[in-house]
Amino acid sequence: MNDPQPRKVMLISGARKGIGRFLTEHYLAQGWHVVGCSRGPTDLQHDHYRHAQTDVANEDDVVKTFGEVRKVEGRLDALLNNAGVASMNHFLLTPARTAEAIMRTNYLGTFLLSREGAKLMRGNGGGRIVNFSSIGVPLKLEGEAAYNASKAAIGELSQILARELAPFSITVNVVGPTPIATDLIRNVPKASMERLLKRQAIARLGTFADVVNVTDFYLRPESCFITGQTIYLGGVS
């Protein structure tokens, strides 16, 4: 007998901590089967959770991880490209290796996971890809040239993927969070953070729940006509 409601499978990158961990627990609670990936192991235990130790910038690693998802889960319905690294520095003092590492994890990781994820979604008649940008892109933040360039690249990538993947019924959208109290902003000086918050229409730090509100919206069945869009939090545009 056919299962009238086949299980829904989601892959979340950077699932070990921060926003990724919150997203993972949120979607597990909603009944999704979640495959989380990160470079390190996780302590999260759940009947519907599997963890893959994956370097998102390593093509072989990513192809292997999605091969496992296909073998074990047989489908993929949603992909949240949350994994990211940040670095603040003056442009003139930023080492090439830092710029390269940021671009590899943030941009190339999103590129590779989207490519392999879309191949799986195509097999089950469509899916949702949500990519992660930052309000740093529209705000053109000084000191974040390498980071913002990688996030701007994700925006451009997403808009083109939205068109190329539309024939497969896959939507591709972007959420651009404000700073949230995570490891990513741990080393940002307090005065810089206050200046940044003042440039938002709503001058406060974001919360994980603010981000999930947007991913929930993109994942809703009713959002099948929404693609190639970016929603920035905090009233930044």
């Binding site: 292997k64 091969g67 024939p167």
Partner: protein, 117 residues
């Protein structure tokens, strides 16, 4: 009089691999044909064109076929293979010109794989 020599073990392995690659491609063709009108169906032949004037596949159908081949290879050989290639849509250099060039390309990719994976 010709003297028949048994194939060397490496040759036998190579032949087996070649047959498996061909079977994987044909399995993908079967899948893609299910979604194509009868008159556009692909033949399971090494000479079947996948691009250019000899092929009736549009770019989306070609992408579907290539992804189906990747998944078929994973199922039959247990190998996760990515067939992404910057020459994909080049009429003269694409490894996806026809079934034979696709099979040769897959063989090269598999031979290039590190022995540990």
């Amino acid at each position: 009089m010709t003297v028949r020599t048994d194939p060397k073990p490496d040759d036998a392995l190579g032949l087996k691999m070649s047959n498996q690659i061909e079977a994987a491609i044909y399995s993908a063709i079967d899948q893609v044909n299910q979604h194509l009108p009868m008159e556009m169906a692909l033949a399971k032949s090494p000479n079947q064109a996948l691009m250019g004037s000899g092929s009736k596949l549009d770019s989306i159908a070609l992408v579907n076929l290539i992804v189906a081949v990747e998944q078929s290879l994973q199922d039959s050989l247990g190998l996760p293979v990515s067939l992404a290639d910057e020459r994909a849509f080049s009429l003269t250099h694409s490894p996806f010109r026809d079934v034979q060039s696709l099979a040769q390309y897959i063989q090269v990719l598999i031979n290039e794989r590190p022995a540990t994976t």
